[in-house]
Amino acid sequence: MWSDIVCPWCYIGKRRLEKALAGFEHADEVELVWRSFQLDPAFPKGVREPVYDSLAKKMNATREQVREMTGQVKEVAAQEGLDYEFENAVMVNTFDAHRLTHLARERGLGGEAHERLMRAQLVEARVLDDVDTLVELAEEIGLDTGQARTVLTGDAYTAEVEDDIRTAQQLGATGVPFFVMDRAFGVSGAQPLEVFAAALEKAHTQQA
């Protein structure tokens, strides 16, 4: 699964995939690999901007208009048990947070990392380019805080993040969430639960 931790539809898609897996007979045979994608790689590192202001600029809309537009995604998220907090959410460059997820992936904690970071951004409105915040979250994920800080203050896993993004582009992904099963079936966007369930069945049938 390719996602960006600031992507509201990715967290919703993640929930739907998890529900599909919960009802999938062969779920124990499924290995879920979390891959990085940046929605806005050009967003300057070190800049922090309220999400509403950032979107208002992008869409040439007022903050109030953006608030109204985000109402729909908040409603859909609520149906998946996610209480999104956009009012105080802050847009940052997510590259370093993605490097942290690769440390977690290497330790077998990729799923935990994506879950915790998406929750931190989308539900708790935490600032995800702040090293101390990310180290605190790393500890909750189960990572060694010293290793996490070393990664975040250096450039480890840069190639891994870039490779994930390049692979998604080669597969034709233009947005996220983006799911690929057995390099055969692609599911793009926060599709309904039934689509994920059908994709899992198809991938399993093909393997058998």
Partner: protein, 52 residues
């Protein structure tokens, strides 16, 4: 986050049958780098920094 699109009103599978429909506007089979795509083309997603 980016542009929030609306929820799809239906689900469909883009398989060989869909691709073969004359005059249909379904995405072609193997549209994504050799992948068979499943689901609606207009499922909500974020792209180019937009989710709205």
């Amino acid at each position: 986050m980016g542009v929030l699109s609306s929820e799809p009103d239906r689900t469909r599978e883009q398989g060989p049958e869909a691709a073969a429909e004359p005059g249909g506007n379904e995405a072609p089979l193997l549209a994504l780098g050799g992948l068979v795509t499943l689901g609606s083309e207009d499922a909500p997603a974020c792209s180019d920094g937009n989710c709205l």
